[in-house]
Amino acid sequence: MKVLGPIAVFAVVLALWWAVTALGWIDPLVLPSPIAVAGVFWNDAGTLAYNAGVTATEAITGLVIGNAIGLALAIIFVGSPTSRRSVLPLAMAAQSIPIVAVTPALIIGFGNGMEPKILVAIFLVFFPMLVNGMRGLRSADAEVGELLHSLSASGFQRLWMVRLPAALPFIFTALKFSACSCFVAAIVAEWVAADRGLGYLIVFESSQYRNAEVWAAVIIGTLSSMALVGIVVLIERWAMPWARHSGRPA
């Protein structure tokens, strides 16, 4: 029953989409029929897979590097109140800065290869991890910290045994957010200048008015991003088996 409802809605939308295109209510130049899109998946599978691979490489590289730097800085800054009080408000404000908008400058600086796209993805995922990591590391129970102090635990042991486990839910919140936004960063950066990748494919095919191909590329991008979020959720369940797994109001 839980999956039946959403699947039914999905099927109805798909049927409506097919009906309006088959009955000729909407020009196929505006909205291609789902069958035409499915045909693109069948015929252009190689092209789609290659370009999706390029985009996924950029997105995932950015995701890993950006989050590693963010978490490392969070661990460094959380120890000192002065740096915390100066860094945290700025990091929160920096989240409102349109980092993606800097892409054209990065492309002038680094060419139209993978590097500027990875840089944009790094910047986009870095700040959420820094902010969430600092909040999470500080959320550790003070009494457990005192216990480890009385056992004369080293700073590293306190980090490993108390602070990092306490920070896990915050870290995964940031990871889930960035699993989606790193794909946005890569695709959108490819719109500006690229010769491969899903963003390039989208811009190129729309300039040729090959709309079914545009739909196929966008759908592949969406599915890749959803798959990455799914992987992060699976890792979260494995890393925090004690957490509640449901977010749905039944």
Binding site: F10, R85, P89, I187, V218, R248
Partner: protein
């Protein structure tokens, strides 16, 4: 906020800003940051002044798209959430799809919207609305169902109508959830509009950014980025002020 409090809150980030700008100016002057990537602070300031009229024209277009889409998407999100919260059946059909939408790179569907609606303001407005709609739908559906069951029983015994229950119990209980969604979509509204303009518009700050990049006018590009950042911070600030006004009882977020 007492005066000492204000100093201890504002001073550390203020000092850090000054240090960052200082290092930036020094590195630009010594060629460590190439000027074609990021111009020195003074050049950027001059570009802001020199391009003021252009920035104003494009900034107005982007503000209309971003704020309009933010408002439309949030309102529709509240309406849809009231529907979903009232029916278990609707919730089972649509809420999992709304949750799944969070994993969709919404900015990346702009090309489809542009194909459907055509280039220009309506397309960008639609994309920003969609981006604001889903966080509001998810948060409000949760929030509307958070109300204390005791209040519901009280109003039931006073034979209140369901509209009265919505206005007196469910909406106040959902306020924190609503403002959480508003803050998320306020900080995303301008960037979504700008990215949408890259492929769907011939006006706006996003268009200005791409065109300045193509003509290697880097200070003008950064000036447009700075204006976008300021507009975003303004919108987020307004939402935060509205939150304090609407929920004076709520604890304020502390950073210390």
């Amino acid at each position: 906020m007492t005066r000492q409090n204000a100093v201890s809150v504002l001073l550390p980030p203020g000092v850090l800003v000054v240090v960052i700008v200082g290092v930036w100016a020094w590195m630009s002057a010594h060629g460590i940051i190439p000027n074609y990537l990021l111009p020195p602070p003074l050049v950027l300031l001059k570009a802001l002044v020199a391009n003021a009229s252009e920035l104003l024209r494009h900034g107005t277009a982007t503000t209309m798209e971003a704020v309009g889409g933010f408002a439309i998407g949030s309102l529709l999100g509240v309406g849809a959430a009231i529907l979903l919260a009232s029916s278990r059946w609707l919730r089972q059909c649509f809420f999992p799809l709304a949750l799944a939408s969070q994993a969709v790179p919404l900015a990346a569907i702009t090309p489809l919207i542009v194909l459907l609606i055509g280039r220009g303001l309506p397309s960008i407005l639609t994309v920003v609305s969609i981006a604001a709609f889903f966080p509001m739908l998810i948060n409000m559906t949760r929030g509307l169902r958070e109300a204390d069951i005791g209040y519901h029983e009280l109003l039931h015994s006073l034979s209140a109508t369901s509209a009265q229950r919505l206005r007196m119990i469910e909406l106040p209980a959902a306020l924190p959830y609503m403002f959480a969604a508003l803050k998320v979509s306020a900080s995303a509204a301008f960037i979504t509009a700008i990215v949408g303009e890259w492929i769907g518009s011939n006006v706006g700050l996003g268009y200005l950014i791409v065109i300045s990049g193509q003509y290697f006018k880097i200070p003008a590009l950064w000036a447009a980025v700075v204006v976008t950042a300021v507009l975003t911070l303004l919108l987020v600030g307004l939402v935060t002020l509205a939150e304090r006004w609407a929920m004076p009882w709520a604890p304020r977020e502390s950073t210390s």
